[in-house]
Amino acid sequence: MKKKVLTVDDSRTIRNMLLVTLNNAGFETIQAEDGIEGLEVLEDCNPDVIVTDINMPRLDGFGFIEGVRKNDRFRAIPILVLTTESDAEKKNRARQAGATGWIVKPFDPTKLIDAIERVTA
């Protein structure tokens, strides 16, 4: 069975890049545009891994991660933070919210797939 990835990012450019990269790497990709939509979509899609941006309208990445971890069904899903916020403080906040790992932009397909491979069985 294909591994399923939920991506949450408000940028259309990044969403398309994620889609192309993940599909090429043989993942099934589900996409949401912000944290709120991410949580909605999550209920139905049961992903193997989540890749999320931090800066988003409505509900940002921190809030989204907390929302995922609060849900008993999803609290063990690996969550990778995909963001340009590379400074230690923000990384730490993402970790405290429950992020599993992170991928520092600029977006690079190899890095993304590597990181996903690392956190998924």
Partner: protein, 771 residues
Amino acid sequence: MDMNEIKEIFFQECEEQLAELESGLLKMNDGDRDPETVNAVFRAVHSIKGGAGAFGLDDLVAFAHVFETTLDCVRSNKLDPGPEVLKTMLKSADVLADLTAASRDGGTVDPSRTSVLVKELEALANGQVPAPTAEVPTPVAPPAPKPVAAAPKPVAAAPTDESGFQPIPFSFDDFGGEEAEAPAMEIPLCDVVFKPRPELYSKGNEATLLLRDLSRIGEMSIYCDMDALPPLDQMDPEGAYFFWKISIRTEKGEEGVRSVFEFAEWDCDLEVKVHEVATEGEEDEELPMQPVPFDLSALDDIEEDHDHHEDHADHHEEVAAAIEAAKVATSVISMAATTQQAAPAAQAAVAKPAAAAAAGNAESSGSGGANPTIRVDLDRVDRLINLVGELVINQAMLSQSVIANETSGATTINTGLEELQQLTREIQDSVMAIRAQPVKPVFQRMSRIVREVADMVGKSVRLVTEGENTEVDKTVIDKLAEPLTHMIRNAVDHGLEMPEKRAALGKNPEGTVKLSAKHRSGRIVIELSDDGAGINREKVRQKAIDNDLITSETNLSDEEIDNLIFHPGFSTADKITDVSGRGVGMDVVKRSIQALGGRINISSRPGQGSTFTMSLPLTLAVLDGMVVTVAGQTLVVPLTAIVETLQPEASAIHSFGASQRLISIRDSFCPLVDVGRILNFRSMQANPTDGVALLVESESGGQRALMVDAIQGQRQVVIKSLEANYTHVPGIAAATILGDGRVALILDVDAVVAASRGQALGGDGALAAAS
């Protein structure tokens, strides 16, 4: 979809983000302190930076990064977004837009502009708020080219150098180099102690996977310490009871080992000890076992067979058999087995069948969402519009043939036909609505023009926009930008007075330029007004005399003088400035508005400013026209040009000169123009009393009575370009297909009026004649 297409999407998105950025900054400029506004502004820059990074657009990334840092200070309330701060930010937004455009279309942005702003932004981020400049800003001298030292920041460093954090590459190949080529004997041996804490699991990390990753960077042996495992009844299913001791021989060294645990380093105790020089014979004495190759297949089985625990037994036995000699074997097995059962990962595994079941509807739920809009290729919409045009024509033809066959009794056919007509009209309107777009993007672009020009000429100007959500056909919007830009430049450069002068006149030193849009009787009306000095009629008049446009005796009304500025080659600026006077005059503006089927007028009050009013059709695809007959030909006259129609009486016709005739309408005289003669449909002028006169108003303001033979009726016609299908014909704007399938030409009223002037008055000067 390939990278180029995504890049295309990126630039589209940039446009949107830039618009968002600018409107957000303008809101902040008006005192909006809503955190969401600041956030949206931040996100816009952030998003551009993110995408630009992915495409290696380094200049863009570098500038966006500095901009973003400063915005972050505003976002975190470290920097108060006062007027001076916002001025810098608005200018930065302009530079960002230019950098984006340069990345898309090639070309460069003046590095001095960028570096000046980078410095200003950095100063702001460092808490240096500039002292407000005097109320009256001084003209900004063009920034002197900076020495090399002031060039934009080195790009490569920007994205990663903040807060000293260096992203650790995931690709282990990066660690290659000398070490990799060293003989195997010198591969360092590391002792690793890895003690996960419960948090490690609660964040979705997994000890098994970390060990798997570790095994990939070198040959390792592993020992699992299970001493802490409590009896079953005391066990917290989410506790972390095991720890591992690993001995690994890896080229990557300590750094490589640590990078494996990068995601987990906060949530585990990790000790890495490197044996300085490891030789083949030197075994680690602290570990109570022989290094055994760590068999990954055990883990692979777990990966593949989450749902079949039974199968594991066999595999485990094989693994155990293979490494029976080493006691470690049991550890491997128990590690694999216990982590699977005890760690929260098991829950994820249980959830899998549900995932499979949900897979079917995943697609729909993924693509669904709050966004009620879709993006469609413009070509597709245009194709649809074209087809609907054909449909309209076809429906008209059908109606005509039904009428021709006189099926007066067959009411069902007529009713059906009427319904078809109505539906066709509705489809047409709906399709046109697809192309309709708010004028907002163009208006937003204007605020930048105002800023730039104001800066250049040292004026303080405020742009007020109204009705930005008024919709009009996309083609109209696209073609509106250029004339508007020119007019805005003029308004700021020529229209508004210098701040000192305004102050002396008791006006607000800050001038106001107002841009508004509204719908009025099926057209869009765009008004551009300034509160400047208004048209200097004496100067305009003198200039017109100097340029031989009028004679000194010509008697012109104020309105006519104002309209002189639309005459080709007319420029009132005393000297040619950087801003205006690039050889493009108001006549060009006028022509581009006319090319859109629009009209432009000016009204001006001395000392109070000028207002340009443009009236444009909502669409360029259809036209409401009056179908007329001239010399046996069917012509369509745009309804918007027609003021009234009248039946000339012999007593109202007056001869003037050799071949000219005037018609008196309510005590004023208006030249009578025979359309058939102008278009060379006939060689002799027709008898005015036999035809109908259409009183039209041309864009140049003058009225003419156009003589046609008969009026057939009013109709909405689909415009077909003559240029695209045939060639340009003077006096004809376009063509259409009528219900009987015949092509009818659409009259270019202005061209006809202009031609009538030349014909009527020879070299006497068109404007003088118009008076």
